[in-house]
């Protein structure tokens, strides 16, 4: 099995390390040709404006969108969730738009609003959640399964082949979410 990690900008090495610690082969996606033969895709944290622009400038955008629409399993964290969202609150920008949710960017304010907490994520109990200038999901369509909430705001969802998280599992030592993502691919 081979997992692609979008590596145009952001914290992609952290995802790669976590996947490799689980014995999974990883490839960094910087150009279109890197997408060949991957079984799953990770969209990491970083700055969504930068990543969205580079996806387009480097000719990756349409191919990534097509692969996700055709069912390629994708795990998206923080900026990655913003890339997947169908709508952004108070912002006309849409990037890949494959996940039927509305995401509020910088929902917790500036860096002084960043925080860590613990919650259940789906069936995974007591998960450490790291929020860094994080978004949350303001609205989700009915077909979307909510995985996690913090203070009544949705911070994790699953929809068909897509997992979207407002927080950063790759910044912790807890690899259960990555294991869960891999188990979806094996099926």
């Amino acid at each position: 099995m081979r997992i692609g990690v979008l590596a145009v900008q952001g914290a992609f090495i952290e995802h790669r390390r976590m996947m490799e610690s689980l014995g999974t082969e990883c490839v960094e996606i910087r150009q279109k040709k890197d997408l060949d033969g991957i079984d799953g895709l990770i969209l990491p944290g970083g700055e969504s404006t930068v990543q969205g622009k580079l996806l387009r400038d480097l000719g990756l955008f349409k191919e990534v969108q097509r692969l996700i629409a055709e069912g390629l399993p994708v795990l998206a964290t923080c900026a990655g969730l913003i890339l997947l969202a169908e709508h952004l609150e108070a912002d006309d920008t849409t990037h890949l738009g494959t996940l039927p949710v509305t995401v509020k960017r910088n929902a917790y304010g500036r860096q002084l609003g960043s925080f860590v907490t613990r919650e259940n994520v789906g069936s995974l109990e007591d998960y450490p959640l790291v929020f860094i200038r994080a978004p949350y999901i303001a609205e989700a369509s009915d077909e979307v399964r909510v995985l996690a909430t913090v203070d009544d705001h949705i911070v994790g969802v699953e929809y068909q082949n897509q997992i979207g998280l407002a927080f950063h599992p790759e910044m912790t030592e807890d690899c259960r979410i990555h294991q869960y993502f891999l188990s979806k691919i094996v099926k």
């Binding site: 914290a11 970083g46 404006t49 580079l54 480097l58 500036r110 860096q111 960043s114």
Partner: protein
């Protein structure tokens, strides 16, 4: 600052990796930088090249001007305070800046002590020329390091020297026996614990960017090939002929820093680069400030 806050602050720097942080002096420039793909902007009244030209004392920027830039963009906004100027840092924290750069580009306020950055909740980035300076700043609470380079020159030679030196020293520390680390910590003037961490992990404990003199996509890619995790571009963008195009090209060059064909294309038709001056031609050496 709690351990959790420090981890979150190091984490924000991790999110900036592979990105370009651009100096801007107005909300309009900030918007151009954001649209060109900047991962963050550094809000300041004068870019380093103009600070050099103006002479005199360079201080923290007007908080109102910084706030206007914060309102203009959605990406993180950084700002500089003078080395050792605790109150300028407190002001920047009060306006909820995302990162403070305790910077040698401004005139130092204290010629002995840096700010005790552990007393702040907001994160700090500091300049360093070698491993000793980097680990001293980290011991004081910095959650991100950048090379000093020689700001406002458009000459990348100092940034190259600092990045090479830091990485050569890290390789050397890795090669030491454990019982040699105490003496090495003494020689470098750094805490033993931080040096032992470097020995074990073969890298700095925080993210390390390149800064000072980066003017072209090739300069930015050079710094990435030398081991930088991202790049600050100060005077290089808005002192050039076509800032938006140059900025976007540098952003792409940082992502694909090993693809010479792409960087060749990115380097075409960028208009005039900033004029540039050699460190030998200047009287004010900023990199020597704050050791």
């Amino acid at each position: 600052m709690s351990n959790t806050t420090y981890e979150l602050n190091k984490g924000l720097a991790q999110m900036l990796k592979g990105g370009v942080i651009m100096d801007v002096t107005t909300p309009e420039q900030a918007k151009i930088a954001e649209a060109a793909g900047a991962a963050a902007v550094m809000a300041l009244e004068k870019i380093p090249a103009d600070i050099r030209a103006a002479g005199g004392v360079a201080r923290m920027s007007d908080p109102k001007m910084i706030r206007e830039i914060q309102q203009a963009v959605s990406i993180p906004v950084m700002a500089k305070c003078r080395i050792g100027h605790v109150v300028e840092a407190q002001i920047l924290e009060a306006i909820e800046i995302d990162y403070i750069d305790e910077s040698e580009v401004l005139t130092p306020a204290d010629d002995t002590y840096h700010i005790d950055k552990t007393k702040f909740a907001v994160p700090f980035v500091c300049g360093a020329r070698d491993l000793g300076e980097a680990l001293r700043r980290i011991a004081e609470g910095a959650s991100m390091i950048r090379t000093k380079g020689e700001p406002g020159t458009g000459d990348v030679v100092q940034a190259v020297r600092h990045m090479r030196k830091m990485n050569a020293q890290i390789r050397q520390v890795v090669s030491l026996r454990e019982d040699e680390l105490y003496e090495e910590a003494k020689q470098l003037g750094v805490p033993y614990d931080l040096l032992a961490w470097v020995h074990e992990n073969g890298k700095l404990p925080v993210v390390n960017f390149a800064a000072g003199g980066v003017a072209t996509p090739a300069d930015a890619a050079l710094m990435m090939q030398l081991g930088a995790e991202g790049v600050f571009v100060g005077s290089g963008i808005f002192k050039s002929g076509d800032p938006a195009k140059r900025a976007a090209s540098i952003v792409q060059a940082v992502t694909n820093y090993e693809d010479a064909k792409l960087i060749a294309k990115l380097s075409e038709d960028l208009g005039e680069a900033m004029v540039g001056i050699n460190p030998e031609e200047i009287k004010l050496i900023m990199e020597e400030r704050g050791q």
